[in-house]
């Protein structure tokens, strides 16, 4: 039940020590409050005046206020402790995310990483706040109360001791039952709870088929099904709370009755009986609190473990290269480079090639042929399974190297536009660019029209939730970013025009070609017309590099490249026949 990982957090041991001390004091205050209140009640019962009870009343007030004042103190201490630790975890996780970079985000999903960093760590904070306190509370307070009970009346003490394991046993048994039930129904749950979102996502499709109105009933029906299966699970979970409640209240009732009977027989006096009656609910309070917060702590615990796994993950290997800016005589040589995604997904078969100077290299192939995987290896996002890389005469096993990435410009299919001003977006790689430099970049990539059209020109806010840009405009902004940093002499493109219409693509191509001069360009695409402008072409098929050479060489060979061209132009040949 105790989470070992908890002991790895900062200052947890001294915190535990403090808590034990505070809870011992807490127990004494609870006992004091009970003893004094009982004394007052017994005095009044004996017919004494309230005035004669005043010292006891005063002590009761003091211990009551002391007890809750101490709670105030404890929760303050825990708040600060949990917040400090949550803050530390969050900064570690962020640092890890941003050093690991895209590979981690791709694996875990953007949404998941963001949720874990913000909500997940908030849950961890609550977990820290609750779990230590409840644990110590449950281990200290009932024991001390029990001591008092045994001292006053061993029979009542015995009843209290016997009920405790019974409660825990039932909670465990029913907890497992609820878990099993939840596991069994998890698949149904998922499906039903997603049904609503699914129907909203597909609402246009439903409309196109004239079904959207009738589907309303289905939404209702599946929500009702969801209610029924949720209730089935909840019933078991609530039964566990019920058992806890039942045993605690019933044992208070039993205590009251047995005390009453022995009082009638004269076997004991009112004072100890009253003390035990008032102490009994306090005895059960810690375990009830623990059970109530159990679910909150469970989420926090899972999030905590997930965060720790990510933080402790060793980063991908880095190649310690020292490189100079790419020169016309430099070479990137790759020998038997291969990659595997693990089971299920095809990787790359060993491939070798050599790029030299300011070559423009086209990488062509159909979807799923391995173009993007190759691009990710070359940009250092993925670590090769095997192979040898020689870069400016230095050997390495991976291209994950700061010195290499510093020279790269990467243009993906959908370049990301930050939610910021157009200027900040353009100057992203070179935040200190001068006004004249930015203006030039805007002009070179053909964004003048956009700037003129925007209400605040370069200062207009763009990106998610702001002014929407077309695919062509986003590509131009990415190009402008690349243009602004003249030290980046290597350009990597991953199907930059796949989503653009033909004419926009041609307009963009016109702007791109001059920018590619004096750069090493790696250009992955499935659009044939780019190949004419390439100095060297790699043809990919099913994870294999099936052919390489210049455009002329490949055209002359009856190989994979020719096959591709034929497939794309098949119709005309049929027409011609």
């Amino acid at each position: 039940m105790v989470d070992r990982l908890l002991f790895t957090i900062n200052g947890v041991r001294s915190m535990l020590g403090k808590l034990v001390g505070l809870h011992v004091l807490q127990a004494f205050l609870i006992i004091g409050q009970t003893l004094t209140l009982s004394a007052v009640l017994v005095g009044l019962w004996q017919g004494e005046s309230l005035a004669r009870q005043m010292p006891w009343v005063a002590l009761f007030i003091l211990s009551f206020l002391g007890r809750h004042g101490e709670n105030w103190l404890i929760s303050g201490i825990l708040d600060r402790f949990a917040r400090a630790n949550a803050q530390r975890l969050r900064s570690q996780l962020l640092a890890q995310t941003f050093t690991f970079g895209p590979a981690l985000v791709q694996r875990e999903g953007t949404g998941n990483m963001v949720t874990l960093t913000l909500d997940g760590i908030s849950q961890v904070e609550d977990y820290f706040k609750l779990v230590l306190n409840k644990m110590v509370n449950m281990m200290v307070v009932p024991v001390l109360i029990l001591g008092v009970a045994f001292y006053l009346d061993w029979l009542s003490g015995l009843i209290m001791v016997l009920v405790y394991p019974l409660i825990i046993l039932f909670m465990i048994v029913l907890g497992y039952a609820a878990q099993a039930q939840a596991d069994r129904q998890f698949a149904t749950f998922q499906r039903l709870s997603n049904h609503f979102i699914d129907s909203l996502r597909g609402i246009d499709t439903l409309k196109y088929f004239g079904l959207s109105k009738a589907y309303s009933k289905s939404v209702y029906r599946s929500s009702e099904d969801f209610r029924k299966s949720t209730m089935a699970t909840l019933r078991i979970a609530m039964t566990s709370t019920f058992a806890l409640d039942f045993f605690t209240t019933l044992s208070i009732a039993i205590l009251a009755v047995t005390l009453g009977l022995r009082l009638i027989n004269g076997q004991m006096t009112l004072y100890p009986a009253l003390v035990i009656l008032v102490l009994a609910p306090e005895y059960f309070l810690p375990i009830r609190n623990f059970a109530n917060d159990y679910h909150a702590t469970l989420n926090g615990k899972n999030a905590f473990h997930k965060v720790m796994t990510l933080i402790n993950e060793p980063p991908a290997p880095q190649a310690p290269l020292t490189l100079t800016p790419w020169r016309p005589t430099d070479e990137l040589q790759v020998k038997d480079l291969s990659f595997s995604y693990g089971e299920g997904k095809a990787g790359l078969a060993p491939l070798s090639f050599c790029f030299r100077g300011y070559q423009k290299v086209g990488i062509i192939g159909m979807s799923g042929s391995g173009k993007t995987t190759l691009i990710n290896l070359l940009s250092g996002f993925l670590t090769p399974a095997a192979g040898e890389i020689t870069l400016q005469g230095q050997t390495a096993t991976t291209l994950h190297a700061a010195a290499w990435q510093k020279q790269l410009t990467y243009l993906p299919q959908n370049p990301y536009i930050f939610s910021a001003s157009l200027r900040e977006n353009i100057a992203f790689y070179h935040p200190t660019a001068t006004e004249a430099e930015v203006q030039e970049a805007v002009h070179v990539v053909g964004l003048d029209d956009l700037v003129a059209e925007l209400p605040a020109g370069l200062e207009t806010q763009i990106g998610a939730g702001k002014r929407a840009l077309s695919g062509g405009q986003a590509q131009r902004i990415a190009l402008a970013r690349a243009f602004l940093d003249p030290n980046r002499r290597v350009m990597i493109f991953d199907e930059p025009t796949a989503h653009l219409d033909l004419e926009t693509e041609l307009e963009l191509k016109e702007k791109m070609l001059p920018l590619m001069a004096d750069h090493l360009v790696l250009f992955a695409t499935h659009r044939l017309h780019w190949m004419k402008q390439m100095d060297y072409i790699l043809v990919m098929e099913d994870g294999h590099l099936v052919e390489q050479g210049t455009y002329q060489q490949l055209q002359a060979q009856a190989g994979a490249f020719q096959r591709l061209v034929k497939q794309m132009q098949a119709k005309e040949e049929k027409d011609a026949q």
């Binding site: 409309k207 009253l274 926009t504």
Partner: protein, 582 residues
């Protein structure tokens, strides 16, 4: 003052929370009654036990004299957990029932704008927000509305029953409990409500900001500015921490005050008990312990109220968003009958988007006879997709005439689906079986029909290979249909629906040219006998069309057969050559 309680203000005009309170009224009343009884039993248990042992300590000669308190003690001891169990089941069941109605209402409201739902909402990820809103409303009921009703019920019981015994004591309880039930929660809302709302705003801002930058993580890494971002994020988090610290500080102080109130109530009862029942040994003095002890279990009913009240500000946004959804209106459906031939006739059609000034279509004259296969080409933003939504009647021309067989398509309502089938860029597959997905086209299609169309679209072998054939769940573990396969499934749906007109809205964007060609060939073969309107910006496979139309700046720029254009139009020839990589 009203601004301090935005929830109350919101509830005045609300049509999303209040109406549901009237639904299943009996269950609701039952849940609240059970909630009240739970605490009556809890207080009753301590009350009777206190009396029982006091009375027993006076050593009555006969055990029968304490028989009633003994039975009551046991009874309350058993009924308290039973009531609580029943109350939780009833209230949760009620809330989930309400959620079903709620979702239906939400769906009906969104359905009215179904065709534009995705373009309108996906960006802001309204889906997540809407499901979060449902959770918020559930919490509003379970954590704020129910406990408050229960507390008010208990309040009434305590004040009235003590008031009968002693009007003065009733008045004291009215004030002290009133402070706990009304004053503390209101104070919390006034002081902390705004803080809590601010906390939510800061959190949302952090959320958006972090999402934005994680999406752009590639650029941060390549720009080698990653540490810069981490520092920037941590700095902006400090504001959140400061707000949270202030929130918690107030809460700790408030929780202490609540305990002080309870202490005051206990002391009041003690004083009142001493003066009313005290003065001699036993006898009436047996009641003192009963009254004083009964008060402590009520703490559970009261302690959560201030926090619940404070939270309500956070729900206001959800309520606002929900109340902003268009109300459900039922339109009469007496659609006119269409008689063949199903020709489209466009005369000087203009279109301007609402709340914009730029005209997207500037006078389009066009006749599309039934059975013709026409490709509509143009750059993005040239008005192609607008034209498509006008043809389907989802939008109405701002000027000019557009008719299908003499009737404006918008007049047909949902019946348009019997005439026009649509395949767009990203055909949606529902998270259900392959069979159900196809039967969306025609609910009465037999399995044989389904296999027949699957063969037509070239997917028969693929589906046969699936572990459960037609009963395989789409997107279940390990199964993902590729882009091309999704388009083929969408086509199969259309074929089952047997619409005479099919509208293809850039169906192959993002596919590689070879797949694109194969998909389009299947489309053309399968749709041979139908009117085909194909909106595209690629020229792959265009020779199969009877006619090619070019839209430019909202007007027709070219119109002719592919052969004519190839001979007479240089621009067409150029584009065609580029598209083929020549």
């Amino acid at each position: 003052m009203r601004n301090k309680f935005p929830l109350l203000k919101m509830l005045k005009t609300d049509h999303w929370v209040k109406p549901f309170l009237r639904h299943y009224k009996r269950t609701l009343v039952l849940a609240i009654t059970l909630g009240i009884l739970t605490f009556v039993c809890a207080g009753g248990l301590m009350f009777t036990s206190g009396f029982l042992i006091s009375k027993s300590a006076t050593r009555p000669e006969n055990i029968l004299l304490v028989y009633v308190p003994i039975v009551l003690t046991r009874g309350f001891g058993i009924f308290r957990p039973v009531m609580r169990y029943a109350e939780r089941l009833t209230s949760h069941n009620w809330v989930f029932k309400m959620t079903s109605e709620f979702r239906k209402k939400m769906y009906d409201s969104l359905e009215q704008d179904a065709v534009f739902f995705n373009s309108k909402y996906r960006l802001g990820d309204i889906l997540g927000l809407l499901s979060e809103d449902v959770a918020h409303i559930q919490n509003l009921y379970l954590r704020t509305i129910f406990p408050n009703f229960v507390a008010w019920g208990l309040y009434a019981i305590i004040v009235v029953s003590l008031g009968i015994l002693s009007p003065a004591m009733g008045l004291v309880m009215l004030v002290l409990f009133g402070l706990i039930i009304f004053a503390l929660p209101l104070w919390s809302v006034v002081v902390n409500g705004a803080r809590q709302e601010y906390e939510k705003q800061v959190k949302n801002a952090l959320y958006t900001d972090l999402t934005d930058n994680v999406m752009g993580i590639v650029d941060w890494v390549f720009a080698q500015r990653n540490q810069e971002y981490v520092d920037q994020h941590l700095a902006s988090e400090h504001e959140l921490y400061a707000t949270q610290a202030a929130l918690r500080k107030f809460e700790r102080c408030r929780d202490f005050l609540l305990q002080v109130m309870i202490l005051l109530i206990a002391l009041a009862l003690l004083g009142w008990g001493a003066s009313r029942f005290g003065g001699q040994f036993g006898g009436p003095a047996n009641w003192i312990a009963a009254f004083v002890l009964a008060i402590f279990p009520l703490e559970d009913a009261l302690a959560g109220l201030p926090a619940a009240a404070q939270e309500t500000n956070v729900y206001v946004d959800s309520l606002k968003r929900l109340n902003a959804l268009p109300p459900v209106t039922t339109s009469p459906t007496s659609a006119p009958q269409l008689t063949a031939p199903l020709d489209f006739q466009l005369t000087d059609v203009h279109y301007t988007y609402p709340a914009t000034t730029k005209e997207v279509l500037k006078g389009v004259d066009l006749q599309l006879p039934a059975g013709q296969k026409v490709a509509i080409l143009g750059k993005s933003g040239s008005g192609k997709s607008t034209l498509a939504s006008l043809l389907r009647g989802d939008r109405v021309p701002t000027a000019g005439q557009l008719t299908l067989a003499g009737v404006a398509p918008s007049e047909l309502g949902d019946q348009i689906a019997d005439f026009i089938g649509v395949i767009n860029q990203a055909p949606y597959l529902f998270n259900t079986t392959v069979l159900n997905n196809l039967r969306i086209g025609n609910e009465n299609a037999s399995e044989a029909d389904v296999w027949a169309v699957l063969e037509q679209v070239g997917l028969k072998a693929t589906i046969e290979r699936l572990p459960h054939g037609l009963a395989t769940m789409v997107d279940s573990a390990g199964l993902r249909f590729s882009g091309g396969e999704r388009h083929r499934l969408a086509l199969a749906r259309i074929l089952l629906a047997k619409t005479p007109i099919v509208l293809l809205d850039e169906p192959t964007v993002g596919l590689d040219p070879v797949t694109e060609r194969a998909v389009m060939n299947t489309f053309f073969t399968a749709l041979q006998d139908k009117t085909l309107i194909w909106i595209t910006h690629h020229l792959q496979g265009i020779e199969a069309m009877d006619r090619v139309i070019f839209l430019e700046d909202g007007q027709l720029a070219m119109d002719g057969t592919p052969r004519e254009l190839a001979q007479t139009n240089a621009r067409y020839r150029h584009l065609k050559a580029v598209d083929e990589g020549r």
